[in-house]
Symmetry: C2
Subunit: 482 residues, 2 copies
């Protein structure tokens, strides 16, 4: 956190955003008036020029006092032209920090607007782990130049950070940490710390290492502070601590942070050497991003969208999901097509069939969401399949009989046919049983095959219960009513 | 974290779970064998009795060495009978901590199995803020007894903590914090801290207060440690810090923690008096729970389900969603019913209509998810409605023309009617335009009316695009093809 920047709660932030927008509007108005006047304006007309820039200067002052995360929020909330105007006013030295804070989609628009030397300058203000986050969005030649400008150690760190896959501990770790030796007293540690200007953010513990950088234990500041300064580090350090490895899944690290309420955790390589640490802020960001990308994926959005993105960018972000659904809808449509003869004879079938398919989809999604969640939490043991299936089939049977009977009675009442009502009830029950089996089976099978049970589960089950529902209902009707 | 307990990464945890299950299985086997032998067993047969209990003892030792959060995980992963067996073996002193860690559904099953005095003993090990979390699940008379056993200060804290609504800062704050005065030196602070056995968890900063407990500033441990001990607190404390209020939304606190990478933040009342603090672990839990309940709500599950819940509990958890969907499906069915005459004449309509409705639903969900998200992030300004609507209508028009034309051609090819193809294309485009308007309009209107734009948005838009899609398609077909 840079020292001069103010922090603000959400209400303040909305107020600041409104102020920025007012200043932008005034500036535009002034610009507009200036252009309406006869061109060219007299070159010595300094006062008017000054008046025109007054709003921008006020805006700049406002921005200078704001926290990078807050500026990021404001940039995200502005349409492209205003966004770039504000971006130009931001002090060059803070570009890097702000680029780290904005969403991917908005970051792209900002980077596109920057010249090469601006990008270089921004990148040079960042640490290796931050650079690694930014690198995928930077032009290749900029990265190369940045790389040249780093020290050997930083190059090594950047190379390491960039080499880990996106969901690994390596991708969320940083390299700022304070290490101490086992055989010194706490007094020595306290004196050592006083030589720092400031400790790295989120330093809640120091790492105790030997000469070869092997991690021997951790010394929480908590412990450092409550113990007698004459005591040696080795006597009070904790030897039982969470130790992450760079190629662990970040999700596992997040779970460990949650379970044990950690603020930071050391990362060691295969030889037990300390290579970095993960801090809770990186974990919070990771959890939030995971939750968001799941939410987006659920609605079929490929990635987070800049709400001011062009129509064309939005179309690209959304088309693949629509294409997949078009295919599944087409298959369902062909299933119906196969029974056109029956529908022609009894047109009530056309009105009733979407109910059977729809409720099946809803029920299947309930089951699959629960199972996927339990798998993700590690609660599903290999031998639990049969138990879960039995339970879900039980739920489906009860729901099928209750709701199916209700609909059967309604169908009977609407169309005056008991047999149609009975077909409705049976089709509903059978489709719910299908939904339950698939809801348990699809995620467990995918888990066994080693793929992520969450991805696309909802599409798969909806496709199945749609086509299956139409087939079961129209098939039963053809058998018993024709 | 209790001192004797071991912590473990996820792999370890799964291993421990497997060990527990093996011991449980062995115990059951031994019990089974004992029962098969002629009853009653000889009372002096101590060795056999001992052998039977050996597995349980081994299990108990294993449990004693585990972290409460890990025991909670194991309880959640076991079916009810085994769960209660394990629960009986857990040291009574740790009951409270573990009850805090398990999911709501599992907590209910555990509390049901406990006698009143056990519950009382468990509750007495907890802090006021923890008690407040547990209280809603405890029998009323137990709470009253617990209340009697508290000190006046704790009673006040418990009353306060329980009085805040679930999503408020008050509900996630705790009361453990270290306060210091402005006019003492850091040396004095360091000596004061050494008098603690340990500092409260997540103490990354001390709170600087005056005699009336008004918060004057914060002293990060970081600052305490790097500065000269002769300096006074007032000279190095930070006066610009996030200050929460108990009735702020917890979500706002979470956003502040994310924006400014906080570990703890003070909570003050309206007079500026320090009343508690929020720590990052409470925020992490809150974020995770929010994400989960959103995910569950999206699939129509009322609350988190114990995967080993009875069929009946599951039915209750799921029925309301199915009921809502049944109503919307019924409405859609009646829309189709109104056009039965047309379907009878041209049965192809029955096969094609679900495609129009389905793709409309998908597209509408994409739009609404994006808008709801942007509203939640505070990115949607009141004057943005028109801009967003224009963009979404543009996206819908492009998608409608592309996918609609494709389907139009397919319909023409399948049924040999150009006019049917044209109806298909127009219906698709119109339904996507309807989906886009509703996708922008529903959440913005609900925001303006002061309700949460996220809740039930998906059901509303799907209901609209289903009924709307059938109506548009069958209506156009009736107009132009009959």
């Amino acid at each position: 956190m840079s020292e001069e920047s103010q922090i603000s709660d959400s209400e303040d932030l909305q107020k600041r955003l409104a102020e920025v927008q007012t200043l932008l509007a005034r500036h535009k108005l002034a610009e507009g008036l200036a252009q309406q006047q006869e061109a060219p304006p007299q070159p010595d007309d300094g006062t008017e020029e000054q008046a025109r820039h007054q709003h921008l200067e006020e805006l700049q002052q406002k921005l200078d006092s704001m926290h990078p995360a807050d500026i990021a929020h404001i940039l995200e909330s502005l349409p492209l032209d205003e966004r770039l105007l504000v971006w130009d006013l931001v002090k060059a030295g803070r570009d890097g920090e702000i680029l780290l804070e904005v969403s991917d989609a908005v970051r792209e628009t900002l980077i596109e607007s920057m010249a090469r030397d601006e990008l270089l300058a921004a990148a040079e203000t960042l640490d290796a782990d931050e650079l690694a986050d930014l690198a995928p969005d930077l032009p290749r030649d900029v990265i190369q130049d940045v790389f040249q400008s780093l020290s050997v150690e930083e190059r090594e760190q950047l190379r390491a950070a960039m080499s880990y896959p996106e969901d690994s501990v390596g991708s969320i770790m940083d390299f700022e940490m304070v290490t101490v030796r086992e055989d010194v007293t706490l007094e020595v540690v306290l004196r050592y710390l006083r030589r720092f200007d400031e400790l790295p953010d989120h330093t809640d513990q120091l790492f105790v290492v030997d000469r070869e950088e092997h991690l021997k234990g951790v010394l929480p500041l908590n412990v450092l502070l409550v113990n007698d300064p004459e005591v040696e580090v080795g006597a009070v350090m904790q030897a039982d601590f969470i130790e992450l490895q760079p190629d662990d899944f970040a999700e596992e690290a997040a779970k460990a942070f949650e379970r044990y309420d950690l603020v930071s955790a050391p990362v060691v390589d295969h030889d037990g050497k300390l290579v970095g640490r993960v801090t809770v802020n990186a974990v919070v960001d990771f959890i939030r991003e995971e939750a968001e990308s799941e939410q987006l994926a659920h609605a079929g959005l490929r990635e987070e969208e800049d709400i001011f993105a062009s129509v064309w960018d939005s179309v690209k972000n959304r088309w693949s999901w629509l294409a997949v659904n078009l295919v599944t809808a087409f298959v369902a449509s062909r299933v119906i097509g196969a029974f056109e003869g029956s529908i022609e004879k009894l047109v009530a079938l056309a009105a009733l069939m979407p109910i059977v398919a729809g409720i099946g989809g809803n029920s299947g999604n309930q089951t699959i969401t629960m199972i996927v969640r339990a798998i993700a939490m590690g609660q599903v043991q290999p031998d639990a399949t049969r138990r879960l299936l039995r339970k879900e089939l039980g739920v489906a049977l009860i729901n099928g009989l209750i709701w199916g009977s209700l609909l059967g009675v309604i169908a009977w009442w609407l169309y005056g046919s008991v047999k149609l009502g009975l077909v409705m009830t049976s089709a509903m029950t059978l489709n719910l049983l299908l939904a339950a089996s698939a809801g348990v089976g699809i995620p467990l099978m995918r888990q066994r095959l080693g793929s992520d049970p969450a991805v696309g589960s909802s599409v798969m089950i909806t496709a199945l219960t749609d086509s299956g529902g139409f087939f079961i209902f129209l098939g039963l009707a053809t058998l018993f009513l024709m």
